[in-house]
Symmetry: C2
Subunit: 232 residues, 2 copies
Amino acid sequence: MIEYSSQPHYLVAVDCIVFGFDGAHLKILLVKRGLEPEINKWSLMGGFVGSNESPDDAANRVLKKMTGLEGVYLEQMQIYGEPKRDPIERTLSVGYFALIDIHKYETQLNDDYKAEWFLIGERPKLIFDHDQMVADARKKLRYKASLHPILFEMLPKQFTLPQLQNLFEEVNDTKIDTRNFSRKITSTGLLIKLEEKDRSSSKKGAFYFKLDKKKYKADFQAFLNLIPNLKN
Amino acid sequence: MIEYSSQPHYLVAVDCIVFGFDGAHLKILLVKRGLEPEINKWSLMGGFVGSNESPDDAANRVLKKMTGLEGVYLEQMQIYGEPKRDPIERTLSVGYFALIDIHKYETQLNDDYKAEWFLIGERPKLIFDHDQMVADARKKLRYKASLHPILFEMLPKQFTLPQLQNLFEEVNDTKIDTRNFSRKITSTGLLIKLEEKDRSSSKKGAFYFKLDKKKYKADFQAFLNLIPNLKN
DNA sequence: TTATTAATTGTCAAAATGACAATTAATAAT
DNA sequence: ATTATTAATTGTCATTTTGACAATTAATAA
């Protein structure tokens, strides 16, 4: 029997940076850690990779278990593998960022896990290297969202242009000219204008739009350029 | 003593897809595997992650050991973690792609490892999921090189515009208009024209250029757009 | 002197960009 | 009923960038 004699073995985990958008601000979903060490401290949603699953499987499983959601937009970010990152035992963690529609989550809420949305700027300090993971995820989100239309994953089925622009502004931490943004986003052909208006945020009301899903899938790899003077 | 009771532990490895450019064609560096199973089959350069190193450290160590080169451009790609990907024992592998100046390597060549450059289109079949890794690496290289000036990492200190254009064409598997390419690459301000000419490939000779390293470092995150009608 | 070969350079119309503020649709106030 | 207020929506223009196109140049070979 062949074997890889005496090579060290490690725990392998996944951690998910879950982003959401409430219509005005970018949020992140955190949970109170359920095991020692650092039990009851805020942390990312995570778990160990089981014997019969890939890290991608594990990330999906963790998200399903903690939020009830399936088919979430999930993207592998990078591996965190400094020898001392977990004080108990060497654990390598694969970081994922997830984009979810915050409204879907609320209806699926399950109280087995103490999960809570935080404004991205008002989140508590996290355990281990999770703060670094969040910083990396924000950077990657910004990068990716500058090039591909992934931010729609955080919006409900119907959304308004001002909401969409707010989301872009939040993610990129910048202000965008309304006229130019409107022109560009319209020219992608990704949006379908609806009859109805959202009157909750203004007297005039803002027209709802929905995503052209066929176009979205076909053009996903095409590049956007919605952020002027982009320097990542 | 706290511990993560009974969670499974796995081997963790790194595998490097090493790209080079001979002035005309894109190449990949492969080695004959030195351990069972699949001993003496062609594979990527890889190794296990040791107890006191991160995966990034391990990738650098492997590259140093097998090519003699340090400070190589190395980028984490993704983790490969299907439960059955290694037939002997569960092993997760972190894939890296590396860009090296093929000429530097030749002078550093060390015969302890049977390494060989292959034209990207004429490489042998590789072990395990390494063919998939190569496919993923090519895709990522193409993507990244469309946006950032990483291809200079594969060129010698002095290079000509035709060489540079060849490299872009190889990576993107497309033809680029000489005039437009020249205009764009010049407008980045990344190139410094030298006095000397390379007369090896034509009667007229082509002027050498070198990279403006200060500008390169400063603008690395800035976006290029050298490939027209880019759809990744 | 001419032929050959590859490197280098220029023009132009169309599209995209960025900077800029007026108009519109609705409700609230007078 | 008219006016004020608020946020949504839309338009212009000069500049830059893009993509499509081929002529010229510098060297050696014939």
